[in-house]
Symmetry: C2
Subunit: 248 residues, 2 copies
DNA sequence: TATTATTGTGTATATCGTACACAATAAATC
DNA sequence: GATTTATTGTGTACGATATACACAATAATA
């Protein structure tokens, strides 16, 4: 996990007294999804002279675990108010294979709570933290080998996102405000990793009753200009809360 | 959360040096579901001279969180090899409203990982631990007020169980080996809290292709004797792994 | 002006979910 | 032993939903 150093002035201080600020043995890791050029991306961090990892952080003594994920996200993407969902806790004692920082605060055993976030790619300006040399987007089906069990965490996040499509709409957080039906379809196809019928997809989406079709069309591309849509936020939020399949 | 004292000889020793054996700030809580006399039950623990709570435990230094839930379950029910599923982590800093043991190890802030378990009611012999005076089954829609946020944890467990019915079979862990279709239906109705059509229910269950109808019928009750069924374990396990609705 | 690739729309069919009715029967009652 | 009662076993008709598929319209390009 990557860590926030805002509360310390040096790595050494952090390693010597992490307990002062954070709960020991506990971290959060964030799988941040974005959508760009018809593919699903995750935001990864690279340690200086080290491997890639998920952006993560630690939990302050008087902070909720949700809050600590929100803080991590804010620090890495600059965004507040983004969609965030806790999906699983990872707690094998040997999950940190090839551990570094042996004998230090960060070298202890950690149980980590996994969150995934959905963000508007175009609004994000990735920032590495003080211990990282890079922070950038990777294609979900082309991520490098990550430290510890972070590849597994990412897979589980993607699986959770896929499952959520069964009962919840997606897109509000991943697409720009105005978007076309083909864009929305590509998003679904990318997350599900399968092709969908264009006409049936449109019917389904419209039946969800969360879209508003605008008068405008998207111009500039070749071929027939597609209509632009936006989400009806109120209906979208309602669908997120209630779920879409109330069926048994 | 209730705690295991097996690793200590006194409460005082435990309070003074819990860190020696367990990860600090971290616990697991188990919502143990059983099914008896046509209603869904949860196993609760009562502190000596205190309120009721979910059975829980702490995580040893070299133990996975799953293992620590398994251990807790074994201690409380006597059962090993039971169905167990992690469903959510609860980490608000003030979740332990009305905290006791202020200033002691157990009085610290805890983030807890919630698990739910499905067990065969008739196989369980509830055992209180050394700090509890009682351990008994309660009807899910009639549980008393529990400590901390344990009522919320229980609700979330029930919700998770309900959602799981959408894509996974249930019953193998909650029913005796041989059972009737009406029994299975009651189980579903209890979990979903709604009445289901008898004929359609049977068709659905049979279409899941995890049941084997036996030649025997259940005798003894009044009225027409229903057939007995059992699960085809191989198919059941496959359905548990793959899920039942692969549809998008 | 013609071409090209893409979008907008509708229909026929199969599948699934839902509503519903009647015959069979094990125990209980008389 | 015949009758009553509540429950189980089974099948069918209907409507809703999912799926497969075809053709006209059009924005940019050639």
């Amino acid at each position: 996990m990557a860590r926030s150093k805002a509360d310390f002035t040096s790595l050494q201080e952090f390693q010597e007294s992490g307990d002062r600020v954070y709960l020991s043995h506990l971290s959060v890791d964030c799988v941040i999804f974005g959508f760009h050029e018809n593919s699903l991306k995750v935001l990864l961090l690279k340690w200086k002279n080290g491997p890639w990892c998920l952006p993560g952080g630690f939990v302050k003594h008087k902070e909720s675990i949700d809050q600590s994920a929100i803080r991590t996200l804010k620090e890495r993407t600059g965004l507040a108010e983004i969609f965030l969902k806790q999906f699983y806790a990872f707690g094998d004692p040997d999950r940190e294979k090839g551990k570094r920082h042996e004998g230090t605060w960060i070298g202890k055993r950690f149980v980590t709570i996994g969150y995934y976030a959905l963000v508007d790619y175009s609004q994000v300006f990735p920032e590495p933290d003080l211990l990282s040399s890079e922070c950038k987007w990777w294609d979900v089906d082309n991520v490098p080998e990550l430290i510890y069990d972070h590849n597994q965490i990412m897979s589980k996040a993607l699986e959770a996102l896929r499952l959520s499509l069964n009962d919840h709409p997606v897109g509000y957080n991943l697409l720009p405000e105005k978007f076309t039906m083909p864009q929305l379809q590509k998003l679904y196809e990318t997350i599900l990793n399968e092709a969908l019928d264009r006409r049936n997809f449109q019917k389904q989406m419209i039946s969800l009753d969360v879209l508003i079709r605008l008068k405008e069309r998207k111009t500039g591309g070749a071929h027939k200009a597609p209509f632009l849509y936006r989400f009806d936020k109120r209906k979208y939020d309602k669908a997120m809360k209630q779920g879409l399949r109330l069926s048994f």
